[in-house]
Symmetry: D2
């Protein structure tokens, strides 16, 4: 543990910054970065404090010592450690560019994920997955029966591996509430449109038919309502009448991979706070 | 008349380009720019041909001489002239940045509009309008009665001035079908969102509540259904959790002015072809 | 005085944030925004703290009371007030879009500048300037003699009006060290290229000849070396082979106006700290 | 051969479009896309005509039949076929993200390259290269002697494999004129800056020290002068004072991969015409 990140939120009132930073100074920590945000409309205060803890202190120690400060200030908070390398599952379907991109970044050291397995309702992803030395699980969904089995298998699989993070890398099935709920704030999806435009299936076809001049991609935490979860990152690119659905699809690929990677990176660096259906993403 | 622009569309089939360019060569014109687009999905062909006509020829001459070619090839087409300085009305309400920006561009020679009048349901725009020497018409809408009168006055005003173009520069009322219909393809609106996201009122409030990381503006030809007309230009800008509704509103201003100006320019240069609810905007 | 902004910089070491925020709490201020930046490479710490001061306190009071804290922590700092409406001079030449845009924003309340006068080496700007009710000073430079007189008149003019800010809105002459020096950090220029590309004259011609696919604009504080001062804001736009020098010039206009306005806004909100030849621009 | 692309350039004069499109119609071809560009400043005309050739015709047939038209109109031209899958060599050094990205795109069918080998002055790329089943050649350059041998080996290697295309995927050595010259217009480099800013070594360090607010990447055909060749594609991303050299380097990666891929795609689709040190890149 080189650094500790303290993420906190509370009703805004005077004295919070002084209270928190004073506490860090008191325990002998050194703040290396601090960012805060006040939402004046909702009267909320959010802060991310990154500090080097005193030698030998554990997360549990820190949490214990922080308790009284947090109580006085009535804070919601969590302590996180850096560097962070979460136990991660990737789900995918037939479009493999996001999977391939994430695995390449992991391989090159650009994203610190401890990939436990990749699962898919199609077998197409096996090759790239095994090339990189990861376990691949094919959970087919050819018919209604297998669809239920797919969900049950997936649920068991996600439960059994002590995962910290689930990434939907162009996984094209809608997950049930039962699967999604436990992963609140820890399951990232990439949707291939500039949400809230073009929710649901075939967003590039929808974008083409509406004649938009810009397309986008959106990475968000998954919530129970499809494509409605808190947005972490978005990207856009200019298009024109020359781009048919196939061209939009191809041009969207680079967006999807970079936007997904950007959201994963923010998550890994503990830069994201969720408030209702919105996010605070510190720089 | 320095240049002629021929805009045409038809079912795609061999021989159109050769037929049209051959005709221009035959009458002694010189093509200075030609762009085409084939929509393979809908089987349609679109072309913009800019040429210097032979000395002394009028638009009517050219149309007359082109008739047989157009008939053979079964073309929809129109001849336009360049430079073009349309008789223009501007409608606005209380947010004056788009109006001010368009008038400034007209004044500096950046947009060639022959501004016939500015009308508004508020008197706020009068000052800037009269500073630039344009006529201002205040058509109030304080109550239901005056709303009907506003529409009637506006209808009469638009009818009476032999206008070529109507620009809605943050005009905040919804126009009736009766007013909109005759101006198909000649009435440009700026909507302060990245359509089709956030149709209707208070798009910046909607954007804030959805927690998007990018906001946009959309210039489109007005159709009978609010915010549904063919899109001519869109622009976007990155935002963050730090931007409250007021900040989004302020940051959106620059987008709105530049996107609206860009759409007006495309219209003035005869670079826009409407096909169904989409546009082909040649470069 | 509704808010106070404290901008500070110092060698990075533990305890600064706690010391500063503790001081604000102690005097009864309430921090409404705080942002900090640590430059690990240069070992420097920078902070912007915005707070509501206790009732009745003046800037001088605050500075007096802060002195001992600043001494202990060895800080460089300045106290600023918000809202801020600096006494401002605008300089321009023949390209009037930046001048017109700034004056329009001032008129609409988008930029809070107290415009004292506009000066130019050409008379072209008089009309727009006087339309908005500002004083215009024509300081011609037809020949070498008048060039020296222009500088002398300008120097006197800038000195005589107790100005806080000078904006070069496409002022095309190179100012001497004598004029520039006293305005360090308070004279903003817009250069029509993506610096450090295309320093000096005719950047759009240079951009065209190099065949770049993107052009830019740069707002920077003026330093003694032409186009070398600390950059406050930059913007870019995609271009193509279709854009000749005239088209680049036209497309660059919108960039120049929005980038200049963005830099002015950052300055007005006391969000800019200069460190060497770089800037920290807080969000 | 499904389609033929005819790329041509000549002095601008009346009749070229009609002559070329007439010829395609005469031989029974069907134009599916045509784009042209007139450079009025240099008096040059450029065109890309994509057509389906008559059944059974070869490129040689077409060139033969076109000769008289080309002679009359004094055209420079080349016929190309689509789909096109050039025999390609990739050169790299230690930064492997561009290599990994290109190989991933080839694997997923996004870029149609027939990769003949990857060569590098470091052995680091071997793993990713062999994972994808490609030949890897390590040509070390530990000292001055081996540097000369590296060049000689590389020259021989490039000569011996009947290559169509060479891609420098973050290959960090400067190639001699002898190697570069034969590959004019067929050797693509990615430079990690927004050229012409920050030519040469350590552009991210240079960008940091200049304090720019936007960084870029540039893909260009390699010419004899370092970083001076014709630009095919550029991309940019906003940065801030928070980005130190390491952060700029990391953020630049996504730019480099997408800009390089974009340039390769334009090359594969025969959309690039080189004129002097500029390019026409048709959409």
């Amino acid at each position: 543990m080189k650094h500790v990140v303290l993420l906190l939120s509370c009703q805004d009132r005077p004295g919070i910054v002084a209270g928190v930073t004073g506490w860090v100074a008191k325990i002998g920590g050194n703040i290396t970065d601090a960012q805060q945000h006040t939402d004046h409309h909702d009267g909320m205060f959010f802060q991310r404090v990154k500090f080097t803890p005193p030698d030998g202190s554990s997360i549990d120690d820190l949490a214990e010592r922080f308790r009284s400060v947090a109580g006085e200030l009535n804070l919601s908070y969590q302590f996180c450690t850096l560097p962070y390398r979460p136990r991660t599952a990737l789900l995918t379907s037939r479009h493999l560019h996001c999977l391939s991109d994430v695995l390449s970044r992991v391989h090159l050291g650009d994203l610190a994920l401890d990939v436990k397995f990749v699962a898919s309702n199609h077998d197409d992803g096996r090759e790239i997955c095994e090339m990189y030395g990861h376990q691949f699980r094919h959970l087919p969904t050819e018919n209604a029966d297998s669809r239920a089995k797919h969900e049950a298998d997936l649920l068991r699989l996600l439960d059994s591996r002590q995962l910290d993070l689930v990434i939907l890398a162009r996984y094209m099935l809608v997950l049930s509430k039962q699967i999604v709920e436990p992963w609140s704030g820890r399951m990232i999806n990439i949707h291939h449109s500039f949400l809230p435009s073009f929710v649901g299936a075939n967003p590039y076809r929808q974008a083409h038919d509406r004649g938009v001049k810009i397309i986008g991609a959106t990475a968000h935490y998954v919530s129970e309502v499809l494509d409605e979860g808190p947005i972490v990152a978005q990207g856009v690119v200019q298009v024109s009448h020359r781009d048919d659905v196939a061209a939009l699809t191809r041009r969207g690929r680079d967006l999807e991979t970079t936007v997904l990677a950007s959201a994963i990176r923010a998550h890994l660096e503990h830069r994201v706070l969720v408030f209702g259906n919105r996010t605070i993403v510190f720089d």
